[in-house]
Symmetry: C3
Subunit: 314 residues, 3 copies
């Protein structure tokens, strides 16, 4: 992890939660918790990044994640530059590294990068100038560390800081999910008592990803007594590529309904990274029900991204 | 109108001009008039929305209207977030309500919403959190209240505050026009002396919309002695769907030329919401002539939007 | 040049470097040099354009140039409005002049305009209101004055202010290049000792453009003893239209390699306006080598644009 931390163990970039020391992860969560109260306005934090520029450099479009980072940066007083590198006009055959170096040369020190390819943000961090800071906003199926952090913050607010007593279930397309990978690393680092994984075989990853998890294709069995259910979005492309037979079948087998949720602990919480496919992986009355923390996750996302930008650039 | 105003009659959202009390409407116009002097720069108003975020949430693209709101918000010191919900990547099957709630959860309290469907902004106002404020920036053919307000401000500057002596003519595709509907409600509320409506039968709406108006398909007759001519944009889709035979025919019958304008009162003013189809609904020498208030309308648009954002969020 | 300067010789717009007095050009370079130290952050310059709005009005997409101007404007404290006039939804048949006038009417005084057509920015300057300021960010193959200025600043930093001793070579698709035209005007104005032009006949412009230059199709001969090599980007469209047989052939004949560069003066510098086609007009080890000033050009671009905006709007 020398790419992500300096020799003194300080964070230089946020590329992945894998290998991030527990103290670093918990410090970011503590800071995000403190910032959550400031996240919705006010000018107290405007000086933190005043005069600095943060570029959202997206090689794959994502309006939601970009907006969350943009608001976080604005609340810290940064100038934000949205650079859409996914359109052909922006790229014109330029390498990703040249795109990064060009914006660096314009005097931008902070980059929030989304990329369709696994490891692409690490590769950019390797060619960045000293002093340039990268935050991975999702690369391929590899990592989405700020999503992992905001999920942990949300869990901690609901269930307390001692994760050793928690049973957490992750459901759905774990195979293609950078969210699941980042959540798994964070849950392990925080000492989660039991991690269960559930989905159809066609959407489960190999054993390396699942190390230490209880794995099943039976959603009802998996739900038994869990404290938190983390639902994943089903990309419609999975149907087109034949990994899932139909949305109806998927909902029948892996859709979270109120009836199913009764098998979890009575105070179990439900999470989803959004955007939700209502009626597919999650039923309306669960999404909008009292156990849903979906909007709390979104709110925590801004606080977590403020904490990360502050730690790296402040 | 309980959706739009609170029990004390204060404005909570701006969804439509229909039903808005005359005092509220005139107060907004007075405030916009006062702000018009500040609208083009300076920092006097920067504190009004400092630290607050305004999201332009557009389910249908519109660069002009978005820019006008964006400048208005910036001049009040707000952070602005442009969220383009019209591209498939942004939506990914998410419901409109979930999109709104997600950005709300990020700590955004002000929304400027454009939508292709009638009533869609009202529907979003119904699911918004208490404290969230929505401004309708145009929904289907239903309403475009800030356009109505800026048209009234422009008329008032030109003709004085007493509308009872005014004869106002609205010309063109009234059937599909949210601008015309908002203008009609505002003109009635302000006690306009006579409202005339003119256009081909195929582009005139039903009697409910036209209540109290003098309706004709004869443009020359309609122009006689009017104090203001409000031209509407002819969407090119009307040709494709057969409602208009050709641009040439439309111009011959319903295009405003200098010769035709002579039938109006000598000091009649000409308005158009833009963008103009020169040579179709309006001739160059009218668009650029001394009676045209087209650019004054645009300038007033920023002032009106500042007044609305200040009233709702300040 | 009365369009560009007022009767007192002060700059009103920046439309082209052609005809710009040497004193004006050098003053802009001096100011950009002074600003270069401030260009990467800090708040010292934030008051220069505080409360003013700068619109990037792009009739042709260009993320890099737009970003450079956007950062320059932000560092001077301006509000920036990005208006993408290249999408059909933005235009809706509106004339370019009406688009400009509409944004002017919103209270925007500064415009950074890119356009696919030669002379289009001059045409807009002719219809702009007094007090409105236009910066040409590239129009057709006509001019790209801020690129010319940043190239001169970069050359001056490397080689000193006395251009009379310099041999400068411009290589590639000069015919279609607004960058080359602006560089040529600036080099002549600054009294460059020798200007050489090299490229295949199919990509060389007519004699009017090349006045005073040494012209050759032999790259190796052209390189002999030059102090600076300015490479131009090869647009892939040139292949499709048959002006270039293949990328491989082009690289063999006109690609700058380390071996070729040895024919230039030992301390020769290499420049490229970006984005680079690595392996086509420039080899990796030249692009990333010690003689390359490519990223310095990008950095200088922000400083030059700050100087231009300050001179016109400050």
């Amino acid at each position: 992890m020398s790419l992500q931390t300096d020799p003194q163990g300080r964070l230089r970039h946020l590329l992945a939660l894998e290998g991030l020391p527990r103290a670093t992860l918990e410090h970011l969560l503590d800071r995000a918790q403190a910032l959550a109260g400031h996240a919705h306005g006010g000018s107290a934090m405007r000086g933190v990044l005043a005069g600095k520029a943060v570029c959202t450099l997206f090689f794959e479009p994502s309006t939601r994640t970009r907006s969350s980072f943009q608001l976080a940066a604005a609340r810290l007083g940064a100038d934000t530059l949205n650079f859409d590198a996914s359109t052909s006009s922006a790229k014109k055959g330029e390498t990703d590294a040249d795109t990064l170096r060009t914006i660096e040369a314009m005097g931008v020190h902070g980059f929030v990068v989304r990329h369709p390819d696994d490891g692409a943000v690490d590769a950019l961090a390797r060619v960045a100038r000293p002093g340039t800071v990268l935050v991975n906003a999702g690369d391929g199926r590899h990592a989405h560390p700020t999503q992992g952090l905001l999920d942990m913050l949300t869990l901690r607010q609901a269930k307390g800081a001692d994760f050793s007593r928690l049973k957490v279930l992750i459901v759905g397309d774990v195979k293609h999910s950078r969210v699941a990978r980042s959540d798994l690393h964070a849950l392990r680092t925080l000492g989660c008592g039991e991690i269960r994984i559930c989905g159809p075989w066609s959407l489960l990853p190999g054993p390396a990803v699942l190390a230490g998890c209880t794995v099943t294709t039976d959603f009802d069995a998996a739900l038994d007594g869990v404290d938190a259910v983390m639902m994943l979005r089903l990309q419609r492309e999975r149907m087109e590529s034949g990994l899932v037979s139909s949305l109806q079948d998927y909902h029948r087998d892996y859709g979270l309904t109120v009836a199913r949720l009764r098998q979890a602990a009575p105070d179990a919480v439900v999470m989803h990274p959004g955007p939700m496919n209502r009626g597919v992986e999650i039923a309306d009355d669960v999404a909008d029900g009292p156990q849903s923390l979906v909007l709390r996750q979104v709110a925590n996302g801004v606080a977590v991204r403020m904490a990360v930008l502050e730690a790296l650039l402040g």
